[in-house]
């Protein structure tokens, strides 16, 4: 039952899932780190990215344009939500923020259900990445291999923005002490809007590139939201590298346990989170004092 080809294949699946979780979680973690708002609509952003990609694909027939269009759409949706709704909740208790983002998530899911119905939609993989590739020792769907590369490139782009640009400098400082960034002359209100937009874009991009390997449904973001939270807790709130590490760990845990018994994969994920919380409450790469 346990053979090498199977194990390697599952490790690969874990890598693909993990990279995707890392990308979604990095969006969630920079939003929470900078704005202090736990965005429970983040799963809905992921789902919306898939649908936006599907719509653009219907118009253009181009997968690349579908992904770009979905990303652009989610930046705008994120920025508008911040400007119109989230902004009014910074000074309010955490429960209010959780309730309002939870509510926004429901509204987005139901709007999508109303517009597209509950039946699942599919977005085909691009022609250059369809079919199956032989890796010598095993056969693997080509698009899943491409997906790992695409998501890795997106994470690299996010890294570049965060660590090599002035905007990234402001965001990293804002994660630590937004009030001091304001005192140093930067309009943090604008920065918050941009961060929420970028965070939503990370989820939307992930939703679009993941669409060819799943069926799109309005509830498609619910499960991923919970897994993403676990990733952020494991990696450390506000830490980009923590989100990447946590994502990869979570992906492999989900994948390897489902090889033994899929019923235990969620259990194993939460068990791992519990262990981290017991031994390192700030998360693997989180700064102490931000628990």
């Amino acid at each position: 039952m346990l053979n090498w080809a199977n194990l390697v294949s599952q490790l690969f699946n874990g890598l693909a899932t993990g990279a995707l979780l890392a990308l979604i979680a990095s969006g969630l973690t920079i939003i929470y780190g900078t704005l202090g708002v736990l965005n429970l609509a983040h799963g809905a952003m992921f789902m919306l990215g898939g649908y936006a990609g599907w719509v653009v694909y219907q118009w253009t027939g181009s997968f690349a344009l579908a992904v770009l269009g979905a990303s652009a759409f989610l930046v705008i949706v994120g920025a508008i939500l911040e400007l119109v709704v989230i902004r009014r909740f910074y000074g309010r208790p955490g429960e209010d923020q959780i309730l309002v983002t939870f509510g926004l998530g429901i509204v987005i899911v139901e709007l999508v259900r109303r517009a597209f119905g509950s039946l699942s939609l599919t977005l085909p993989a691009p022609a250059w990445a369809s079919g199956i590739t032989s890796l010598g020792f095993m056969l693997y769907p080509t698009y899943r291999i491409a997906l790992i590369g695409i998501v890795a490139a997106a994470l690299l782009a996010l890294y570049f923005v965060l660590y090599r640009t002035k905007l990234g400098l402001i965001v990293r400082a804002g994660i630590e002490d937004a009030g001091m960034v304001d005192i140093l002359g930067v309009d943090v209100g604008k920065v918050f809007m941009v961060v929420f937009g970028i965070g939503a874009m990370a989820a939307g991009f992930a939703g679009a590139v993941n669409a060819p390997v799943v069926s799109l449904t309005p509830d498609g973001g619910d499960a991923i939201l919970i897994e993403t939270f676990v990733v952020v807790v494991i990696g450390g709130v506000g830490s980009f590298f923590g989100a990447v590490l946590g994502g990869l760990i979570a992906g492999e845990i989900l994948s390897l346990t489902s090889m033994v018994d899929p019923a235990y994969s969620q259990f194993a994920l939460f068990a791992a989170m519990t262990l981290v919380l017991v031994f390192r409450p700030q998360g693997l790469l989180g700064a102490a004092g931000r628990e």
């Binding site: 402001i170 009030g179 001091m180 304001d182 005192i183 140093l184 002359g185 930067v186 309009d187 700064a287």
Partner: protein, 237 residues
């Protein structure tokens, strides 16, 4: 156009609250261009609240904060910073996850005018040595140098130093006092809050004494030294 001696900052009728508690009562003060003014008083007298109110980090409920005649009261900190007031907060608030140079660069990002890095490092050679160290790895004295360097990098019209020598070893205090003297000699306008009375009186030419949120004394530091009952009553010396 900018002559030393003319009024740079004029504060009038400033009232600030924390929630329902009234902290500042009609605080008034003026600072001339190129002047170093000390804000003195016991713990809880309202010194830090005054500094935060000038920066906009605490929003005053009434009163005016005029910089070169333009009223800044009620504006957000980033707009007050853009106008040329720069607070070096008591807690220093150095970004621990950023290195020394990133801290300084960040401060200059939105500044209308800024000091080149070389000029900052010439004033704080220690920071140049540690330019790639993260904020969390700095000693208390180095963090204070960085906090001041960050403010200067924005080439502000007026620097507000809140307890710059607090909790530092005497040798570091000595070094920082010299730096602040150099700044003052170069014409930098400074308001300094300091518990260390000797250091504060040594730096400033004029002082305001706060008690329970009221200005109870203002005068030159020479006059204040010659007024032992004020020193005794409000500063416990």
């Amino acid at each position: 156009m900018a002559k030393p001696g003319e009024t740079l900052l004029a504060v009038e009728g400033l009232n600030s609250y924390y929630g329902d508690s009234h902290i500042l009562f009609d605080v008034a003060m003026t600072v001339a261009r190129g002047e170093v003014v000390a804000l003195l008083g016991r713990n809880g007298a309202g010194k830090s609240t005054t500094m935060k109110s000038l920066m906009g980090a605490v929003r005053p409920r009434s009163g005016s904060v005029k910089l070169e005649g333009e009223d800044l009261a009620g504006r957000k900190p980033h707009r007050i910073a853009a106008a040329g007031i720069q607070l070096v907060p008591e807690e220093r608030r150095v970004f621990g996850s950023l290195n020394v140079e990133e801290n300084i660069v960040l401060a200059g990002v939105s500044a209308p005018a800024r000091w080149p890095l070389d000029r900052v490092y010439a004033m704080f050679p220690r920071l140049k040595e540690r330019r790639l160290s993260r904020g969390t790895d700095l000693s208390g004295g180095e963090q204070q140098m960085l906090a001041i360097a960050r403010a200067l990098a924005r080439d502000p019209k007026i620097v507000l130093l809140d307890e710059p020598f607090e909790g530092l070893a005497p040798i570091i205090v000595h070094e920082l006092v010299r730096t602040v003297h150099e700044l003052a000699a170069a014409g930098q306008t400074i308001v300094v809050v300091e518990q260390n009375l000797a250091a504060a009186l040594g730096l400033a030419s004029r002082a305001y004494v706060l008690n329970n949120g009221h200005v109870v004394y203002e005068g030159t530091t020479a006059e204040l030294r010659a007024t032992p009952d004020v020193l005794h009553r409000y500063l416990g010396v």
